[in-house]
Symmetry: C2
Subunit: 404 residues, 2 copies
């Protein structure tokens, strides 16, 4: 039908441009679905190492974990309203479409009044499976006048007994998870998003993580991510959610510092008992290989459970938490040196689920009541974001919410 109306293309283009430049709710008036049409309607060809941006889910949830991540939370400035927030999400969406293809970001996407432009830093560099995944914090809804639309599941997380949280590095109005197999590509993408947000939202905190190229061990030496559920189990099913959240997810982010100087001095058997798995291959202490189910009922001849009553795998198991499960997608971090001389290093733990009230929250509540591993861990930051569903070509992140 649009093809039958030769004027529709230019009309739509004007609508999209007005949203990018006017930056106010008025720009949305009458735009309706017209704003959903991108400056480029085609989902450009994907080169080698390109993770498609468009799809039923945002990229970066089901995408096999990249080697690097930059997490970044932004807070809105004083002048935010629904229209300005929508304009930012549209700018970011458009930029992401270019960035994941390894393209420079067009000057037209810069904020109104900005003289900034892409420096071409990515020229000659492959996109390295770059993904940009956007999330909305609980405060997003109040800041944009959408309080009534906030899902009940998007409530700030409860306090857990052993938390030692740094508020300045927790929470946030907006999240971007930037994943890539190339740290330069990820760092450049953060630069671009920060620049495009200028005048609208400022970076609240950012963290960088990594994995080994060919391993899944964390800095404690443990094989990590064993028995992760099918990632699709993290997605919100359409009937249970508003349209903007269908195919989306909830992500909990915890920066978990490891007390490595202590951990390194423990007898190896003690380390294995705290986790409940063998260090060498990640197999449960009840035998088999890494993927063998843990036998929580197994006892030694003297009647003592093989998996200790406070072992991490026992307390975290779905069987111990009414079936609660979450998809873990974590990276190690090492930010150098703390003031006390110990390593500022650990795990950027990301838990994805369709509802944190039946995912992270019950599991963490249980872990905080005596998990043997938690003696060597400090939860330093915490955040929860709703991650809207995927973006179709011509749309933008959370469009159905912003224009609903």
């Amino acid at each position: 039908m649009p093809a039958a109306d030769p004027a529709a293309g230019s009309r739509r283009r004007v609508s999209r441009r007005s949203l990018l430049t006017a930056g106010g709710l008025t720009a949305l008036a009458g735009a309706g679905t017209a704003a959903a049409v991108a400056l480029r309607d085609e989902d450009g060809a994907s080169g080698p190492g390109t993770a498609p941006f468009h799809g039923p889910q945002q990229a970066g949830i089901l995408t096999p974990r990249q080697q690097y991540v930059r997490l970044a939370a932004f807070d809105f400035g004083a002048r935010t309203d629904r229209g300005r927030a929508a304009a930012l999400l549209l700018r970011w969406t458009s930029a992401a479409e270019h960035l994941v293809r390894g393209e420079a970001v067009p000057a037209g996407l810069e904020p109104p009044g900005s003289r900034a432009a892409d420096t071409g830093a990515l020229a000659g560099t492959a996109p390295a499976r770059l993904t940009l995944t956007f999330g909305l914090g609980p405060a997003f809804f109040d800041r944009t006048g959408l309080t009534a639309a906030r899902p009940a599941a998007l409530t700030p997380l409860p306090a857990f007994g052993e938390d030692r949280l740094d508020a300045a590095r927790s929470d946030g109005d907006l999240l971007v998870q930037i994943g890539a197999d190339d740290p330069f590509v990820a760092a450049h993408a953060l630069r671009v998003l920060q620049r495009l947000a200028r005048g609208e939202a400022g970076l609240r905190w950012t963290m960088a993580g990594f994995t080994a190229a060919d391993g899944r061990r964390n800095l404690m030496g443990q094989v990590d991510g064993t028995n992760n559920p099918d990632p699709a189990k993290a997605l919100v099913a359409a009937p249970d959610a508003p349209a903007w959240l269908a195919g989306g997810s909830y992500v909990v982010i915890r920066r978990i510092r490891m007390l490595l100087d202590h951990w390194d001095t423990l007898p190896p058997a003690h380390r294995e008992q705290a986790l409940g798995r063998r260090a060498a291959d990640g197999a449960p202490l009840t035998g088999g290989g890494e993927r063998t189910p843990v036998d929580l009922a197994a006892t030694r001849p003297d009647g003592v459970p093989v998996i200790a009553t406070n072992a991490h795998v026992r307390l975290a198991a779905p069987a111990s938490n009414d079936g609660a499960a979450m998809v873990r997608r974590s990276w190690s971090y090492h930010d150098g040196l703390r003031a006390d001389g110990t390593p500022d290093a650990g795990l950027l733990f990301l838990a994805w689920q369709p509802d944190p009230r039946t995912g992270f929250i019950p599991v963490q509540r249980r872990l905080s009541q005596g998990d043997a591993l938690s003696r060597y861990l400090v939860h330093e930051t915490s955040a929860l974001f709703a991650v809207p569903g995927g973006v179709r070509p011509g749309g933008y992140v959370a469009q159905a919410l912003m224009e609903g």
Copy 2:
């Protein structure tokens, strides 16, 4: 000759072990070259992606730049003397021999009295061309009673006009440059070295950097490292130096923050003039390709030099500095957010040369007097280290100095 004496092997092994455990200069008495015999004399087979540790130079100088770097400076504690310092260098050398082969570090290398042990974090992970390159700061010599052996070239760098140095992140008694194509491997190696130094030397500062997998651009978008001299030109020639330094080098480390928020807003032509090269391909503004020599004499029809009088390439050129040249081996860094909201990002600039007095110092002196690029750069840290020559199987870093 040693082979003719069946007792020599065990005698030497005892000497090496006593150096590892006694940790005092007394342990060196009479050890002589015997201490040069490693617990394992063979330079173990190199697997794929392994950068050999032994050789006429330390690895990490001529090694093609890895994608990831961790720089770490250590300071000795109060009790240091020559023997204890030698013991630390031996522990680190032995650990490096294992780490570059992807092996766990044996428990026997842990410091006296330590209960720590390798956690097996690298099991299943390839070494990823891991290199560990050790350097000695000017203060190393006073701390170890070797003041008379300090080379004249190893004098703290002079102040440069525009420096804004953070003393806590500058200098240091000892340097380790950890390069690898895998960030997990590099982070783990830092952990091990820090653990092995416990009780002897503490981490003073550490910094992490990266490059694109397939590019040489920095975060300003410039092609970096053009016209680098042959890396072998960075090496100290044997006749000019004490034995421990022959085949070694001097490295200057500068953490150079980029004022990216400003840089991004400059007109592209202005950016190119500040550097003297084209953004698109790194070719000099006087034409040709990236590797075409810069024509500093070229003028426009109106007589104005094509390469501005304050262009970075003009002021940094050997022709402008009595032939002074250095081998640059730099990485980008992005540590997130500064308190003022600007990116804490830039370049970990490493300059290698056989003598800083005819390398970095004259070039930087000239750059600090009006380089157009320096308006967008802040030199935040500075350090100079002498990097001893390579290690033969059975030897350890700086052995000829420590036992000279």
